[in-house]
C-alpha cells in the first residue's frame, strides 16, 4: 500500500546512521528496531489518515509486526531495544483493536481531528450555562421525544411483567419499535460509509471535510442513543 499523504520527516537509524521514513519500525538498511516515539495509530502502521481501510491488509500487517516486535526476540538485545519492543508491542495491540473496528476507527480519527463526542455535549452545556441560553442538544429533539416515549413504553412493559401480566399489544409495539430502530441503524451505517468515502476523497477540500465530519458526529450521536435503547428493548422483550 502506498502512503499518499503526510510528507514524512526522516528518521536516522541509531545503529547504522542511515536515513529512514519517520514511521519506520525497523531500519531499512541494517534491520535494527527503531526507538519508540509516541505516535497516532495510523502512523504506527504507516497508513494515511483515512476512514476507509483495507481490513485484510491491516490484519496481515498486524500479524507480521506482532511477530517482528515480539519481546521474546529481544531478550538478548540491549536494554533499550527491549524497552522499545515492549512499548511498540503494546501500542500495536491498541492500534489494531482500534483501527480494525470501523466505528472505533471513526471515533478515533475524529478525535485526531479534534472532535471528541463526549466533550461535544459537555461543551454545548458549558456554552449554554455561560450565556444563560438553552443548551443545543446534540441530537434533534424528535429523536429525544422518540427515545423518551419508548422508555415510557418499556417501563409499562416492565411493570406489566412484574404484575405477572404480559400485554400483547405493548409487546407488538415494542417489537415494531425494535425493527424500526434496527432499520435506522442499518441506514445510518450506509450513510456513514458514504461519508467516509466522501471525506477520504476530499483531501484538498477543507469545507467538504468539515461538513462530512459534522454529519458523521451527528450520526454517531444518534446511533449511541439508538443502541442504548435497543439494549433496553431487547432486555424488556426477553421473557
Amino acid at each position: 500500500m502506498t502512503v499518499v499523504a503526510e510528507p514524512s520527516k526522516k528518521l536516522v537509524c541509531w545503529s547504522c546512521g542511515s536515513d529512514n521514513d519517520a514511521d519506520a519500525q525497523f531500519c531499512a538498511t541494517c534491520g535494527k528496531l527503531q526507538p519508540y516515539t509516541p505516535t497516532d495509530y495510523f502512523s504506527f502502521f504507516g497508513l494515511p489518515r483515512r476512514f476507509v481501510l483495507d481490513r485484510v491488509a491491516l490484519e496481515k500487517q498486524f500479524y507480521q509486526l506482532s511477530r517482528k516486535l515480539h519481546p521474546d526476540l529481544y531478550v538478548r538485545a540491549g536494554a533499550q531495544e527491549q524497552q522499545w519492543s515492549l512499548e511498540k508491542s503494546s501500542v500495536l495491540n491498541d492500534a489494531w483493536r482500534t483501527l480494525r473496528e470501523p466505528l472505533a476507527r471513526t471515533e478515533y480519527l475524529l478525535s485526531l481531528l479534534g472532535i471528541r463526542l463526549e466533550e461535544q455535549s459537555r461543551d454545548a452545556s458549558d456554552r449554554a450555562a455561560a450565556s444563560g441560553t438553552v443548551k443545543q442538544q446534540v441530537v434533534p429533539s424528535d429523536l429525544l421525544e422518540e427515545v423518551f416515549e419508548l422508555n415510557m413504553q418499556l417501563e409499562e412493559m416492565r411493570m406489566a411483567k412484574a404484575g405477572g401480566a404480559d400485554d400483547p399489544e405493548l409487546r407488538r409495539d415494542l417489537e415494531a419499535a425494535r425493527e424500526n430502530f434496527y432499520q435506522q441503524l442499518k441506514v445510518s451505517e450506509q450513510d456513514l460509509q458514504r461519508l467516509w468515502a466522501e471525506w477520504d476523497s476530499s483531501a484538498d477540500n477543507e469545507a467538504t471535510r468539515q461538513t462530512t465530519q459534522e454529519k458523521m458526529v451527528d450520526l454517531l450521536n444518534r446511533r449511541s442513543y439508538i443502541r442504548n435503547l435497543l439494549r433496553d428493548v431487547e432486555e424488556a422483550l426477553k421473557s
Binding site: 463526542l117 463526549e118 455535549s121 459537555r122 452545556s125 449554554a128 450555562a129 450565556s131 444563560g132 441560553t133 438553552v134 443548551k135 442538544q137 446534540v138 441530537v139 429533539s141 429525544l144 421525544e145 427515545v147 423518551f148 422508555n151 415510557m152 417501563e155 450521536n221 449511541s224 442513543y225 443502541r227 442504548n228 435503547l229
Partner: protein, 142 residues
C-alpha cells in the same frame, strides 16, 4: 459503583415524579439527553405569570441513579424560586449536595440543562403570547 446515601435516598424516594400538561402556557418543559449513556430526562415547571415564581415541578428520568437523584433534587430546589433564581442553580451545587463522583458529573449537568431548557420553553411560550416580551432567554441580573 457505590452511590452516596443521598443519591440512594432520592433514588428510592424520588420527589415530584410525574408530568404536567405540556400545552399549558404556565408550564415549561425541558427534555434533554446525554448521548454518552443514552439517558433522557424531562423536567417541567409550572410558573405563576405574575410573580414568576415556580409553583410546581415534575420530572421523569430514564437513566442512572445519579441522574434520577439529580433531577429529583432539581425539582425540589426550583420550587418556590423565581425563574431567574432557578437559573442560578449550577450542576456543581448538585454534585456537592449529592456527593457525586467525577464520572457522574454529566448526570448532574443533565439536570442543569433540563432546568434551563424548561425555563427556556416557558419563556418562549410567554414571549409568544406577548407577555414578558422584554426578557429573552437569558439570565437576568437580579
Amino acid at each position: 459503583m457505590a452511590y452516596s446515601d443521598k443519591v440512594i435516598e432520592h433514588y428510592n424516594n424520588p420527589r415530584n415524579v410525574g408530568q404536567m400538561d405540556k400545552n399549558s402556557t404556565a408550564v415549561g418543559t425541558g427534555l434533554v439527553g446525554a448521548p454518552e449513556c443514552g439517558d433522557v430526562m424531562r423536567l417541567q415547571i409550572k410558573v405563576n405569570p405574575e410573580t414568576r415564581v415556580i409553583e410546581d415541578a415534575k420530572f421523569k428520568t430514564f437513566g442512572c441513579g445519579s441522574a434520577i437523584a439529580s433531577s429529583s433534587l432539581a425539582t425540589e430546589w426550583v420550587k418556590g424560586k423565581t425563574v431567574d433564581e432557578a437559573l442560578e442553580i449550577k450542576n456543581t451545587d448538585i454534585v456537592k449536595e449529592l456527593a457525586l463522583p467525577p464520572v457522574k458529573i454529566h448526570c448532574s449537568v443533565l439536570a442543569e440543562d433540563a432546568i434551563r431548557a424548561a425555563i427556556g420553553d416557558w419563556k418562549k411560550k410567554n414571549v409568544a403570547l406577548g407577555e414578558q416580551a422584554a426578557v429573552p432567554v437569558a439570565i437576568a441580573a437580579n
